[in-house]
Assembly symmetry: C2
């Protein structure tokens, strides 16, 4: 098979995979996580049960593949928001990406719910699974922007000596894992922001704040203002 071309077989298989993913997603959205069974998905694409095992090793792998799709779609949406503002100040692009992340989550709560609370959590945390790789690309988006911000207009950081050594060691390891694009103390600030932002979204989608808030949009905007302050990007809207 010549490189660059894809055989007819490969194209047919790819189309089948997409149909399968679409069926699984529809079932998830319309009937909830429990409805995404091998048999139900197969029925929906007009196959009979065991045929799906020619595409995935089992239920868990199917779920993992579909979840990875969601993460990639979310990532792509965020990257589009970033690229649509090419040339704009970094702070502005960061805010746009954050808002886009929440918009996608709100528009696709079932999909987003699976991203961090999928029914098969353990197998999807293996370092070479599609789900894991997609997660890494997802994390990259805001990390890249924060690294760019750090390069062009460094934000205030804490004194590394003031951090407990147990924490500093972990931050140093993380800093190395991202090729030193952020030093440990800047990684600390980045992670603080990430925890607040993503944690808030996580709680919103998992309905952990319903007892007080029905609409978290103003709370999210407040969180963005905090982050704007922490990262010293005052100019951004």
């Amino acid at each position: 098979m010549a490189a660059g071309t894809s055989s007819r077989r490969a194209r047919v298989r790819q189309a089948a995979l997409e149909e399968i993913h679409g069926a699984a997603r529809t079932l998830l959205v319309e009937q909830g996580p429990a409805a995404v069974t091998i048999n139900a998905v197969a029925r929906r694409v007009g196959m009979s049960g065991p045929a799906l095992y020619h595409y995935y090793a089992g239920h868990d792998e199917l779920v993992g593949a579909v979840t990875a799709d969601f993460v990639r779609e979310l990532t792509a949406t965020m990257e589009q928001a970033r690229d649509a503002r090419d040339g704009a100040p970094v702070g502005e692009r960061i805010l746009a990406v954050c808002r886009t992340m929440r918009s996608w989550a709100i528009a696709h709560p079932a999909e987003f719910g699976w991203v961090f609370a999928s029914p098969v959590a353990a197998p999807n945390r293996q370092p070479d699974s599609p789900r894991h790789r997609a997660g890494q690309q997802f994390e990259q988006v805001l990390l890249d922007l924060t690294a760019e911000l750090w390069r062009t207009s460094p934000f205030p950081v804490p004194d590394p000596d003031g951090l407990p050594s147990a924490q500093l060691d972990q931050l140093t390891a993380y800093s190395e894992s991202i090729d030193g694009r952020l030093p440990p103390e800047a990684a600390h600030v980045f992670l603080s922001c990430w925890i607040r932002l993503y944690g808030l979204l996580c709680m919103e989608v998992l309905h952990q704040l319903d007892f007080a808030y029905a609409d978290l949009e103003p709370v999210f905007e407040e969180c963005l203002r905090d982050i704007t302050g922490i990262l010293g990007m005052a100019g951004a809207a």
Copy 2:
């Protein structure tokens, strides 16, 4: 049947319920969420399948009851930590309760995982379910302490006029739902702290921060220091 006494039947039934819950919990901890099936639980207590339907209407209700148990155990643990420091400054009791919450979550990750990401989320959100009632008592613990702090040494609050009206309306409704023990602007501060604290725990247990942190204890302590500052309880350790 005289009030205050419990018939032999009721006692036997209560014992059976406890045995069932224990079996379900063991299965959850030892073999994961998927292992908690009606049949497996029944086998473990020496009954045969359908017998469990005399105790619960079905799988979802069993899961809900067990989850409610977890929330009650967590709540009781937090209340003990609070009462063990009776007479101590409120700030100190708040910190002890927060640390106890995390300790329980770390010691019982499978149980805590079910609390906010149980396999049957929807039915457990009904206002009169045991799970929902347990959740309300859980929220009370830190709310009570914060209300006491507000009474005895009010913490700084934002100008209500500075809040978007959509948010202020929700805070006003929440303030009324807690009998005005915190005015809307104080409820805002309380909820901000709650979101950061509980959100961090949520992400830790759901392994959303593994890419950077293996041990979140220093991050949690950092969060507590932030909260100490926000609530103006500088003295507390």
